[in-house]
């Protein structure tokens, strides 16, 4: 047999199979409008503003509260750069205290950014910092945020 029948995608031949990409968008973000480049840059600017005033916790909270879930990859990367900047600014002695103050949703989002951060080449200089953050978050929040990162279709 020349054809490897085990590799045929039989679902593609099923006329009743109707999973489209839009079916996979979670309802909670279905109405979230995608952001434009100037919009995300102005958000980044205001966050950097609070960072320069020394309000590290406020900056991190603001960045984690409105991730651009529905925006393009380019926009998401701009926001990722903002989050990575905050994470590398906060001193390692302050990490535990900051993580404890975050809400459960914010911790879940932080884990998403840590995974994303470790997957891009720009973060190679700060991967040690990201691992330290990862350790602190899992100390406080257990394995739940990691499982949610894997299951969640709201990607950052």
């Amino acid at each position: 047999m020349a054809v490897d029948f085990r590799r045929i995608d039989i679902d593609a031949l099923d006329p009743e199979n109707s999973v489209e990409p839009e079916h996979l968008i979670p309802p909670s973000i279905a109405n979230l409008p995608p952001l434009s480049v100037p919009e995300i840059q102005s958000i980044g600017q205001s966050i950097r503003g609070s960072l320069s005033r020394g309000d590290n916790y406020g900056a991190l909270q603001a960045a984690l509260d409105q991730p651009p879930y529905t925006s393009s990859e380019e926009i998401k990367n701009i926001h990722l750069a903002t989050v990575l900047e905050i994470l590398s600014t906060i001193k390692s002695s302050d990490m535990s205290r900051v993580v404890e103050k975050l809400s459960s949703e914010q911790r879940d989002t932080l884990i998403k950014y840590l995974y994303k951060g470790m997957s891009v080449p720009e973060s190679h200089g700060i991967s040690g910092v990201l691992l330290a953050w990862f350790e602190k978050v899992t100390e406080v929040a257990g394995l739940g945020p990691i499982v949610r990162h894997l299951s969640d279709r709201r990607t950052v």
């Binding site: 009743e16 109707s18 079916h23 929040a141 394995l143 739940g144 499982v147």
Partner: protein
């Protein structure tokens, strides 16, 4: 608190069901169903073999004593108990082209529902004139495998948890079999396949189990994002009155049981049950763990710290640590809990639940 533990071999158990008087236990493991006589020690009575692939689900009807089983071989069998203790199997025409995943009798025992990988739920009922179990399919809008089904107390509404991360509530009203049900909060007129509710967890993930509360007026679902979601509907075609999501620090839950209107026990990949309490007004929260691994760890460390024990270990194993314990989990179940079921009820509240797991153990927990 003493939990009854029965180790019945090392083959994973996918589902279990006790008879109404708790004198018999049916276990779905590998390609057969084992019937055990219960007592202080469980002993194997019969093995029902009729399936030729993994049996995924088993359910004993409390009144008639009939057993329904379903399997990855795409078939369901109804086992009729005979007077001499034997069982006579009848094949059910499911008409599905993928594995059957989950089977449950309706509370009135006239029908049963079989979830499947064919994006369909087969609602099966007995046709007198043909002397044959036939099925009707619920297909829309299921987009993926159905992992669990659970019945509303009125035997018409059915909840289904699916790998498309939705939990749905359907009507299974079959003319000639069911009497017209009383209007419920889920809907007044409910012809077959009416979708009465469709819910997801905020972080998504497969819905491993979904179940109605004892009154049938709330639905709880456990999903693969390590969370439990409790939904309180407000009326037909209306958005729900309250949707409470509790995300935990644990691994995902596979199964849940309502203990009362305000208490739920859930268990899964963390190998021990967890109790949630709450209501639509106050919200829900994780209350406590049953068989908490942290308590067991504390006891274990205090045991190791005695000097006698340390020297005994050094003498036996050449190391001060109890190395034999290192491989085992501090919980009773040594692997994922696959199924929880109510075992005993006292004063309107479930106070014992039975559990089975991948480790081949059956445990009856006091909760």
């Amino acid at each position: 608190m003493s939990h009854q533990v029965h180790s019945l071999g090392h083959v994973p158990i996918s589902d279990h069901s006790f008879s109404a008087d708790r004198s018999k236990l049916a276990l779905a493991r590998d390609i057969s169903v084992e019937i055990y006589d219960t007592g202080s020690k469980y002993s194997l009575n019969t093995t029902l073999s009729g399936h030729d692939k993994t049996v995924t689900s088993v359910d004993i009807a409390p009144h008639s004593g009939r057993i329904v089983t379903c399997s990855q071989d795409r078939n369901a069998l109804v086992w009729e108990p005979a007077a001499d203790g034997a069982y006579k199997p009848t094949l059910v025409l499911l008409r599905i082209n993928r594995a059957a995943t989950y089977a449950r009798w309706s509370p009135d025992e006239k029908k049963f529902a079989v979830g499947s990988g064919a994006r369909a739920i087969a609602i099966c009922y007995f046709e007198e004139e043909n002397d044959w179990w036939v099925s009707k399919h619920i297909k829309k809008p299921l987009r993926s495998t159905v992992l669990s089904v659970s019945w509303h107390p009125n035997s018409v509404l059915l909840s289904a948890g699916s790998t498309d991360s939705h939990a749905r509530v359907f009507s299974t009203f079959i003319k000639g079999v069911d009497e017209r049900p009383e209007p419920t909060i889920w809907g007044d007129r409910v012809p077959f396949q009416t979708l009465c509710g469709d819910f997801v967890s905020p972080a998504g993930g497969w819905v491993h189990d979904a179940a109605f509360s004892p009154s049938g007026n709330a639905l709880a679902l456990v999903t693969h994002d390590s969370s439990i979601t409790i939904v309180y509907p407000s009326g037909p075609e209306q958005p729900p009155a309250a949707v409470v999501n509790v995300s935990t620090t644990l691994l995902p839950f596979k199964t849940l049981v309502w203990l009362s209107e305000n208490e739920i026990v859930a268990a899964g990949h963390d190998c021990h049950p967890v109790v949630f309490t709450g209501s639509d007004q106050s919200g829900w929260a994780l209350d406590h763990s049953v068989d908490d691994p942290n308590d067991a760890k504390k006891n274990a460390s205090s045991r190791e710290s005695t000097a006698l024990n340390m020297f005994r270990q050094m003498d036996l194993k050449g190391t001060p640590q109890a190395s034999a314990d290192d491989a085992s989990l501090p919980t009773i179940h040594q692997n994922t809990i696959t199924k929880l079921r109510p075992y005993a009820v006292s004063g309107g509240r479930v106070n014992k639940v039975s559990s089975t797991g991948v480790d081949g153990r059956v445990v009856i927990f006091d909760v």
